[in-house]
């Protein structure tokens, strides 16, 4: 039986910038940061309160997984905001929204009431977007 989600990929174009954003701005932790082969770097982060899940911040580049053209298309998709990266939960979306905006984080929408909670749409520096949600109890 599938027990849980342990890793998920978010495509980024600059891993230093990604680390700054996800760690310094969003307050996540670095889980692993290690060179992998000659050029690649295995960089994973995760929310402090969820130690058993990591987001791999990977660089799309030409290699066995994709050719240069595909890597460029993937980059375009991310930049155009076509790729949703998931939902990040918070216990106070309005407070966090204010704080993150001050830190320079961009949002597509400010917190808005929905039947399931209050939701803002947060964007990373590359175009990946997350629903940023304070959920109502079920």
């Amino acid at each position: 039986m599938i027990k849980r989600l342990s890793h998920v990929t978010v495509w980024v174009f600059d891993q230093d910038l990604a680390k700054t954003f996800y760690v310094d701005k969003l307050g996540m932790q670095v889980r692993e940061d290690q060179k992998m082969g000659d050029k690649m770097r295995w960089l994973t982060v995760g929310p402090k309160e969820q130690p058993d899940m990591q987001i791999a911040l990977l660089l799309p580049s030409a290699g066995p997984l994709m050719d240069a053209e595909t890597a460029a298309s993937l980059r375009t998709l991310v930049e155009k905001g076509a790729l949703s990266a998931g939902v990040l939960e918070t216990d106070d979306v309005r407070r966090d929204y204010e704080e993150l905006v001050k830190k320079g984080v961009t949002f597509r929408t400010p917190p808005v009431e929905q039947f399931y909670g209050i939701e803002a749409i947060l964007k990373d520096p590359f175009g990946n977007w997350f629903s940023f949600t304070q959920s109502k109890p079920h």
Binding site: E32, D38, A56, P64
Partner: protein
């Protein structure tokens, strides 16, 4: 020392950890290990380099850096002198005899992430991962 192989030897720090003077520390170290701290560190670095060469796909320059050598030349020649063959030859000859998992040390990078993102042999990497 084991945990900081990539850093230069810091005698004052090591002696400080034991509460001995540097002089007393050196004497005690020689009695316990039969060599100087520097020689012992070199031994640890070479052992670690051997493990990294056999177990992973790190290029020799990276192995060299990870075990604290500043120059590839001095690393390679010391390695060859002590081990009897160059770092790359060592990797090949050990792998010819025993099969070693791609990654024993370091982060647990899922195999196909690692392979599909780093392998130089595109076709083989794709085949191994079922693409």
């Amino acid at each position: 020392m084991c945990e900081r192989l990539d850093e230069p030897l810091r005698l004052p720090l090591l002696a400080g950890l034991t509460g001995l003077s540097q002089h007393a520390f050196l004497r005690r170290f020689a009695r316990e290990f039969g060599c100087t701290p520097h020689a012992y560190l070199t031994h640890l670095r070479l052992e670690r380099a051997k493990a990294l060469l056999v177990a992973g796909d790190l290029p020799v320059t990276e192995v060299c850096a990870q075990v604290g050598f500043e120059s590839l030349g001095s690393f390679s020649s010391l390695f060859a002198r002590r081990v009897g063959e160059s770092p790359l030859r060592y990797r090949t000859s050990v792998r010819a005899v025993i099969q070693v998992p791609d990654q024993i040390f370091g982060p647990r990078i899922p195999y196909c992430f690692r392979t599909l993102l780093t392998s130089r042999n595109f076709g083989e990497a794709r085949a191994r991962c079922g693409w």
